[in-house]
Amino acid sequence: MDEVDRRRRLEALFSTHAGAVRAYAVRRTGDTASADDVVSDVFVVVWRRLDDVPADALPWLLGCARRIIGNQRRSARRHAALVARLVETGGADGSVGSHHPGADRALGEALQTLRERDREVLLLVAWEGLDARRAAAVIGCSERAFAMRLHRAREKLAAALGRVEPKETPAMEAVR
């Protein structure tokens, strides 16, 4: 690949995936400012390792963003609080570029009680929209291991939600 081809490939990858990488980074960092820095760092890595980028580039790119964000020493606890805030407010405090209207306080609280590794697998599927194979590529484990982790994380989230909002107690059911 000569320089012109490399440049074209970088630009093609950027135009196809920069939006998705940015959205991931916003969800992980909570603001577009930090996210934009992550995006440019990711594509600096892409330029240097262009030959390593697989045909299905997005999981590779998100894995790269994930490591960069990890390097910024953002603690798991801070991330938990951030995710909770985003979910509880629907991202509606102006710090993210585009907001979903649906705020869900109970879900935010439940997510905050999970361990980082559980929260991460859930969000890769629910927010990044990745299937198990691609999500496994992001965090660098096997598809089988990912499926197992996802299954357990779902159970934990359901249990946590049950604690946060005990909708119908057995006693109430008995009355009904």
């Binding site: 440049r7 940015r22 760092d41 910024q72 979910v87 879900l107 927010w127």
Partner: protein, 371 residues
């Protein structure tokens, strides 16, 4: 259980978002030295490399001319003019960004702080070496001028040539060299801290003569600062000729002092940054304290940022057309730095690092620390 996943999907806080512009990627690649291979591309600030290389040559020539012909030199003194503002300097234009978010990335803050000036702003995280922002000609080398006093002072302290209490002579000029003070002013012997605060060239020239050119050159090279093989020790040590360094390299110098003397090779926060101790902790703290005084009461008082103590050092080279090349390197907050900067501005007026580059650094640091 699938309800849980549906509910989680529905709570996605970012459902659609525009892709960012690619300019920051090019800027970072430029700053990391990978940009040279990218060939020609549109630049956000200023003209092409030829412009800046020419400027570096012109700066060196003019420095030599000014030093050799003191009677013709435009008298300037960093200290006296430090508080002056520049009403004629164009204000920073509103940042053109597609994002309406109140928060902007460091890159954007740097671009806004630089405003309409030709030059460069580079910001590093002194703890990781990561490049936070790189705007303008961040890899283009110019004469670093008196910003290298910081390194001469550190080397002299670490070599035991002086202690923080040693009084060093500060004559108007050094015999048999081109080194002289601004306005050829002489002072009583002073400590290295005082010399940094007031940017007294002959003190550093004298330290350079004690240290010797080979040691100085090898020390400067550790920071990527390239010495002219023929330059004499006094000129090298006082930044009055024989050196070229880019804003990125000078930001690395500031980051090293900020990080208690550890030199971290800049990276994009990826891979493993290389860390080397290039000055002792004690020396780094002495230099850091002196740089704090530079901003409090010395040549860089306009670098004082709202809300956080700034430490820094200025440098200035007059240019042939009456303008000047102005440097500021520094970091903030002074006690526990989270950001190190280098600002290089080519100003059409005869400015000083303290009056042109320092306010740009102050704008950037204020905005960055208030994010």
């Amino acid at each position: 259980m699938n309800d849980v996943m549906k509910r989680l999907t529905a709570a996605n806080p970012v459902t659609d978002i525009d892709g960012p512009p690619m300019g920051d990627v090019w800027d970072k690649l430029d700053a990391l030295g990978d940009g040279a291979r990218l060939g020609r591309r549109p630049r956000a600030v200023g003209a092409n490399r030829g412009w800046a290389v020419g400027l570096a040559f012109a700066a060196t020539l003019i420095v030599v001319a000014v030093v050799a012909l003191p009677l013709l030199a435009t008298p300037h003194r960093e200290r006296g003019a430090a508080g002056a503002n520049h009403p004629g300097v164009p204000r920073a234009p509103a940042a053109s960004t597609s994002s309406t978010s109140p928060e902007r990335g460091a890159q954007q803050l740097a671009r806004t702080a630089l405003g309409g000036h030709s030059g460069s702003v580079v910001a590093l995280d002194p703890r990781t070496g990561a490049i936070l922002a790189a705007v303008g000609h961040s890899r283009v080398a110019s004469a670093p001028e008196a910003t290298v006093d910081v390194l001469t002072a550190a080397l002299a302290l670490d070599q035991g040539t002086i202690t923080p209490a040693t009084l060093i002579p500060a004559p108007p000029r050094l015999p048999r060299t081109l080194v002289q003070n601004t306005e050829a002013a002489g002072f009583p012997a002073m400590t290295v801290t005082r010399a940094l605060t007031s940017s007294v060239n002959t003190v550093f020239g004298r330290l350079g003569q004690e240290l010797g050119a080979p040691l100085l050159k090898s020390y400067f090279r550790r920071f990527g600062i390239r010495p002219d093989p023929t330059a004499d020790a006094a000129a090298l040590a006082s930044g009055q000729g024989g050196l070229v360094a880019s804003p990125l390299e000078m930001a690395t110098v500031a980051a090293t002092v900020a990080d208690d003397g550890l030199l971290i090779s800049p990276g994009a926060g990826t891979g493993h940054p290389v860390t080397r101790r290039v000055m002792s902790v004690a020396t780094a703290r002495v230099i850091s304290e002196a740089m704090r005084r530079v901003v409090l009461q010395g040549t860089a008082t306009p670098a004082a940022a709202d809300g956080a103590p700034v430490a820094g050092k200025t440098g200035t080279a007059p240019l042939g057309d009456g303008g000047s090349l102005d440097w500021f390197i520094g970091f903030a907050p002074a006690a526990h730095p989270t950001v190190a900067v280098a600002v290089l501005v080519r100003d059409a007026r005869s400015g000083y690092g303290g009056t042109v580059a320092a306010p740009i650094a102050a704008r950037f640091l204020t905005a960055f620390l208030q994010r």
